[in-house]
């Protein structure tokens, strides 16, 4: 790969930021239980990566790197003196937080939710409602009842949704 054209510009870094920032904040919140602090930490990680000119092999690598960095930052904070002096300390179950299982479970749950939200946001309102219910395991019949529409309309909305998300879904499965 030639480097020349592929440096992170402010524009491409903004894209990366927009694609990861919300879920990283929610992810940090799972450790810190403080949304403002979570945002600050995630922002600091983004600044550090930019300044250190860290390079990534691909998008999976980049995503993994950010999750891992945010996790480490949160854990370091939870272990710090500064935090131990606050009253919230007792609430934190540090040993659980430090496990790989907690890390991966939260990361995948939150990232998947973010991907789904991104997809649903691309849809017209009705189709979005149908897909949301369908993800919650409602059958076509139940969705039809809930939204007071016919089963065929439910099916049509699903078709519209799959067509609209075609690029999204096929790109995901091609990998």
């Amino acid at each position: 790969m030639r480097g020349g054209e592929n440096k992170f510009t402010l524009k491409s870094y903004k894209k990366l930021f927009e694609s990861l920032y919300p879920q990283l904040c929610v992810f940090a919140y799972k450790y810190l239980n403080d949304l403002e602090l979570s945002k600050d930490f995630v922002q600091e990680v983004f600044l550090k990566v930019w300044e250190d000119k860290i390079s990534f092999k691909n998008e999976n690598h980049a995503t993994g790197f950010f999750y891992k960095s945010v996790k480490n930052k949160c854990l370091n904070y939870l272990k710090s003196k500064q935090y131990k002096t606050t009253e919230r300390y007792e609430l934190a179950n540090l040993e659980d937080y430090e496990t790989e299982e907690f890390y991966m479970t939260e990361a995948v749950t939150i990232e998947t939710t973010a991907v789904i939200e991104k997809a649903i946001n691309k849809l017209p309102e009705k189709a979005a409602q149908v897909i949301r219910l369908s993800i919650e395991d409602y059958t076509n019949n139940e969705i039809a009842n809930k939204l007071s529409i016919s089963i065929n309309t439910v099916k049509d909305h699903k078709k519209v949704a799959y067509r609209k998300l075609r690029s999204f879904l096929s790109f995901l499965t091609v990998k």
Binding site: R2, K7, F8, Q23, F56, A62, V115, S134, Y162
Partner: protein, 391 residues
């Protein structure tokens, strides 16, 4: 063990299969989570436990904070490191090009010759022509504001103009024009809420405001545009019409694509959703979703066909080029507009070779050429200034 790199592919695959109601086998196959954890994760995802929290995060606002800090700090570091290039994080963008024939010939590959590569990846840019004929250049970093118009240099939005009740006088409409150069693309929202994506080398003429109840009229002078028309029901039943020198499309609120390039001898109108009527000199045709009307500008004849995959036609507005079984010459013609380059294909047989391929518009031209070359159907290529020669 560190599974960080699996977070993204695992999540994307899981999201896709949940949306398509295809279960969650990949979570099981990953062998990272035990059965109980899997079911807890699924229940949280399905009920959208984190959805509301995600929505609370103000990404755009917070980026501004980061952007300011980055700009401030990079100025600082410049003093110390005059030679330091910009941050060099390299993201590999996936380029997939597959040749549509199974047999791969053995060819002697030549090394590409690159002399003074001036071929740049396209960006968001346009020239706005106001009703008095004056022009404004729109590109990143160039904000523009006036009356009901605002642009951040990456898109332009016309706000609806609220008229005083009772005194609704329909004035003659003023027209603005948006010209997208080669190597550009742009998004515009008209004052009625209609959204238009404009591809490279395109020109759109449209009213600054629409008169209530009157037919809304815009003109695609040339080029390619995707319209997501605000429904007539929101505008006292006012129809929406897209004119072109050779045809007219009448719509009632729908999504469709028109491709009418100057250097092509045909116009294609493709309907994605809703209903449109296309009239030319000789015919008046109704289209249903997934249908395409092809107007041959030389013979003035039309043909209507169902498009197998409408996505290939409108992918450009999502930042993707998707070619399904297209001759190399057509692919390179599309690329020449986005990368603003001249293309020479030396071998006439190669011109007609067909490819299947998808790639991101953010790729550099060389990434794409390497992928095409890897199919073995071109020997090599040369870039000299803004000219690409396929050998």
């Amino acid at each position: 063990m560190d599974n960080s790199n699996k977070i993204k592919p695992l999540s994307e695959e899981l999201a896709a299969s949940l949306i398509k109601n295809e279960g969650n086998s990949n979570l099981r196959e990953s062998e990272i989570f035990d059965t109980e954890t899997q079911s807890q994760m699924l229940s949280k995802i399905k009920t959208g436990e984190y959805s509301n929290l995600l929505k609370e995060i103000e990404t755009k606002k917070d980026w501004k904070v980061i952007e300011k800090k980055i700009e401030k700090r990079s100025k600082k570091s410049f003093k110390f490191w005059p030679y330091a290039a910009a941050a060099s994080i390299v993201l590999l963008v996936s380029v997939a090009f597959v040749f549509n024939k199974a047999d791969n010939k053995d060819v002697d590959f030549g090394e590409p010759v690159i002399v003074n590569n001036n071929i740049k990846t396209g960006t968001d840019k346009a020239t706005l022509t106001l009703e008095d004929g004056s022009t404004v250049v729109l590109e990143k970093g160039q904000d523009y504001k006036s009356n009901n118009i605002s642009s951040n240099g990456e898109e332009i939005v016309y706000q609806p103009v609220i008229k005083h009740a009772g005194k609704e006088i329909n004035k003659p409409v003023n027209y603005n024009m948006l010209t997208i150069p080669r190597g550009g693309q742009f998004y515009i929202q008209l004052s009625d809420g209609t959204k238009v994506w404009l591809n490279s080398e395109s020109k759109l003429k449209y009213p600054v405001t629409f008169n209530a109840g009157e037919t809304r009229q815009v003109e695609l002078v040339h080029g390619e545009a995707y319209f997501d028309v605000s429904p007539s029901t929101n505008h006292k039943g006012a129809k929406f019409k897209v004119y072109h020198q050779s045809q007219e499309v009448e719509v009632l609120g729908t999504e469709f694509n028109i491709k009418a390039y100057k250097d092509e001898n045909h116009i294609s109108t493709t309907l994605v959703e809703g209903k449109v009527a296309v009239s030319t000199e000789s015919v008046n045709e109704l289209l249903v979703p997934n249908q395409q009307l092809h107007l041959n500008l030389e013979t003035k004849t039309t043909s209507k066909a169902t498009v197998e995959d409408v996505y290939n036609i409108i992918a450009w507005k999502e930042g993707i080029f998707s070619f399904e079984n297209k001759p190399l010459k057509d692919i390179l013609n599309v690329l020449s507009r986005w990368y603003d380059m001249d293309v020479i294909i030396e071998n006439t047989v190669q011109k007609e070779e067909r490819f299947i391929g998808t790639f991101n518009k953010s790729n550099s031209i060389e990434d794409i050429l390497i992928a095409i070359k890897s199919t073995g159907f071109i020997n090599t290529y040369e870039i000299n200034n803004k000219t690409l020669t396929i050998k």
